[in-house]
Amino acid sequence: MLSPDAMSLIKPAAESIRVAVSEACRGLVQREMLVELVVLAAVAREHLLVVGPPGTAKSEAVRRISRRLGGRYFEYLIGRFTEPTEIFGPVNLRKLKEGIVETETAGMLPDAEIAFLDEVFLGSTAILNTLLGILNERTFRRGHTNTNCPLRICVGASNRIPEDEQLAAFADRFLVRAFVEPIGDSALEELLASGWSVRRGQDAALSSMAHLDTLANAALDMDLSALSPAIAQGVRLLRGAGIELTDRRVVRMQRLIASAAVLAGRTRATEADLWPMVFALPTEQAQHLGRDVLRDLLTASENGILLAAPAEGSLGPRARAARILKEGNAIMGDVPEDAKRDAWRLRLEGIAREIDASFSRDALPPELTALRAQIVDSLAARNDE
């Protein structure tokens, strides 16, 4: 159980992360879950693999949260002919003349605190072997260079999970998996509007690596003993449903659970923090099936800092209510001038529809009852205009 002294450091750190996530998500459409998973993985000191077609804002989501977290950021699109020097840095020619193979890593991946590698599985054997050391041990080894890396999280992106055995072994180093699809028809207007109004490169840091480290260290101290039976039960249910999990994956998903608890401001992990188990499942099909299999176990899922990911992971009512509440309050607080009222009204109706299609009146959480009443009043008032 985390001590009061530890909690006094954790709370401001978690609050800064909450603000960073909220601002990073502003203007992103249906990518809130991805931003939150970057944060969860970073606190857990794990890595994230994003799988989805090109042009689905994978790198934009990672860039935004990286800027808001204040980390030193490195990004590269890897191709079949990418040389290791393009990622790890050039060889120091002066040292080379002395017979020493040393790499200049300033500004390159070994120097980064947050990294994004697009098409990560296209890297050569030389690149992937060196990357393995960085991912596993936060150590860069190449020639005579042997240095610790300040890397908190590496986000890899790919169009698909590799089937090749060797690449699959490399892919297993990315514990957290997020699968993204192009934006659905219902959100196209929102995508067009946010894409047109985006301002690049103006995101000030709202948190810091120090805050991230505070949370990561607290996660390592989190007491999971009371939750072990539930975690074991979850793994048994998943294996019973035919979902293959490596022992590494089973053990390390506990880091995600502990990190969720820390971000939620808890001194001890509870059933509300089990939802990251879904995002440790390696394939999209496994995650779909896993949500279903773990549905009862994840009913209590909720997290005050991360909203979209617990809702997506658990399909649980509390997480869903928190997400709807945040979206609804954001729309209610953003009343436009007359010319755009119709579009705003449609968004309000969308929230009301989601509330009524998700919760029976008897089971509606009090905070959503209040939001719903405000929406009904707002729409009735505008009907009278």
């Binding site: 649980g316 009301a352 529809r353 299609a357």
Partner: protein
Amino acid sequence: MTKVGTAFSPRNDPLEPLAVVGVGAVGRALANRLLRLTDEQLLGLSGIAGDDLLLVLGESLPWVDGVEYLGRDEGAPRLLMPATVRPVVATDLLERAIARKASKLPSPWAILFSPPRLISVAEARPIGRAHLENWLGAKG
């Protein structure tokens, strides 16, 4: 319409909404809301109207205060039921009971739990403005 009663409890995992239904004044409000949609938006919707009830099927379902959203449980593929609650009996048993009890009512059906109501949606038709206006006119 046929009355079919069953107890029910909230769903933690709601069904995807495939239809929306309004009864009485809510049905009239729903019809008025539909009349404010564009012709293209109406094209994607079909519906069925009773004496005091309007049921609309489609993807982009409208909202007015008081409507109920219906979805399809995988155990009862011929039955639309409220998306946010589940019957206490198994859904496949409920569907079979309905098929026996309402044998003269063609499937697929829609069931409401409170108050209990069973409707056939076999005759659902594309929604037209004239139909909506006639229905509203007949309500007074």
